[in-house]
Symmetry: C2
Subunit: 293 residues, 2 copies
């Protein structure tokens, strides 16, 4: 497929690599041109000076950038990809943005005769590297089917979760649960320290039993060591949990565990851990309790 | 080993069965005598009229009853097992009781020359039936070693977590985390319904990713079906979470996620689900949000 890939950051560069290897004809664009030039030289891909130029003869356009405003600028701004894409082309945004922004984007692209799928990913850079991302796709079934050869090159678990915007909704709900479970795990470690139990044994018992969770397995070690090797930044987790609370609140519902996680994550950013892995939230939990692990 | 086994409820009867099969010489006592008679006839064990009689020539005494006051009555009340046990005998309480009660019991039994290990279990009746319980043992290393042949007959994962009382502490910390993660999962389902996502897809994505947890795997199905097949009663989970909050609070620390779980579990008992599996807590989460799954 002729693909315009926009955004060659830590995730995007690895994802585009898998598209090239799968035989797709990839044209890349990146805000910092030198990054795109270096990447394209290494991978034998074409480089474009603007998103519009990359999109000119593309069958599919993929955006993988930092946030909603960037996605809107790349697609709909001056020299935006949507201004030049052929009628009927498929736009796939794989960034994490607000669900409401994804829905609005879908409407604006439809007005220009372009199909849209929101397909955020989970799995961090190692999964991007190995082509084993989890991809949550929101869009019309026919559009998700068109995107499937691209998704299969980049991901392992690909779930069509619903209409446009629902990829983002499922992603931020998942991340809010991960953040809340991480806060609960950190509080349990702090409580365990306060009552004097052996924390390694506690983690062992919980991991084998009903207290086990994906985040306990991933984050208990970093929390106990006060060392936070980066898989997913605290600032990005805070953004996702806030998106979740915004969407759920707009629907008139509460999500108290996510609200608590938001509070802890915001304090963790306030303590200087914005760019550390979100396991660093244990620092705030310790601070609130006055107990050091 | 000559074992006095006291308490032949749903858990105890299955655990004692494994002791008999492993070749131990088991004498049973149960508050309702007819239950003990029937069990002993089936398993070729001896029955005693009182805990004291069961303990008279025992090397190890095991209690598996409902709560701390029952353990204290069986061991230290009139005709209690500790009044008759040979000096140096090992007392093992496998019930779930308050950590502070376990520590006090250990001290009172030591005054009588009896060793004590608190060894609560997790895994519910299917694990008791198959001899695959998780056992968290608190006590002196030598005492836990003496108990090991008994534990190995009844359990699969056996962890010596620390001194007397720490078995209970680790158990209630684990259960508080399980309860908190279950509340978070229920809130995420309710939030997901409010924003309109496909809940089966949401559970699928969370289960494969960072939102996954042991309780999500076990309880999401029952929550979505509003059908709560009994593994662990809401009333018992509430008791454990309360024990956890009492112990952590006495140590001067907070555990906000457990406090939230306590609130939700108490309301679930208030709504009439005390004897249902604690997946029923989704009823309270739905009620608080005004959203039905």
């Amino acid at each position: 497929m002729r693909v315009a890939f926009m955004g060659l950051g830590i995730m995007g560069s690895r994802m585009a690599d898998h598209l090239v290897r799968a035989g797709h004809e990839v044209t890349v664009w990146n805000r910092t041109r030198s990054t795109a030039d270096a990447w394209a030289a290494e991978h034998g891909a074409r480089v474009s000076a603007t998103p519009a130029e990359a999109a000119r003869d593309a069958e599919a356009l993929i955006t993988m950038v930092v946030d909603g405003p960037q996605v809107e600028a790349v697609l709909l701004g001056p020299d935006g990809a949507a201004t030049a894409a052929p009628a009927g082309a498929l736009v796939v945004d794989m960034s994490t943005i607000a669900p409401a922004t994804a829905q609005r984007l879908g409407e604006r692209l439809a007005e220009r005769g372009l199909a849209f799928v929101d397909a955020p990913v989970t799995g961090s850079s190692p999964a991007a590297e190995s082509g084993t991302l989890t991809i949550m796709a929101g869009g019309a079934a026919a559009d998700v089917t068109r995107a499937m050869p691209l998704f299969e090159a980049m991901g392992r678990t690909i779930v069509h979760v619903g209409p446009v915007g629902h990829g983002q909704l499922v992603k931020v709900l998942n991340n809010a649960v991960a953040a809340a479970n991480a806060v609960t795990a950190a509080q349990a470690l702090v409580a365990g320290r306060a009552v004097g139990v052996d924390l390694d044994r506690l983690v062992e018992v919980m991991g084998a039993g009903s207290g086990g969770s994906a985040v306990l397995s991933l984050k208990a070690g970093p929390m106990l060591a006060h060392d936070y090797p980066l898989l997913f930044k605290t600032a990005h987790m805070l953004k996702d949990v806030q998106h979740c609370l915004d969407a759920v609140g707009a629907a008139g519902a509460p999500f108290p565990a996510a609200a608590q996680a938001r509070e802890v994550l915001a304090a963790t950013v306030g303590r200087g851990f914005a760019d550390d892995d979100y396991a660093a939230l244990v620092e705030s939990v310790e601070g609130f309790a006055g107990v050091r692990l």
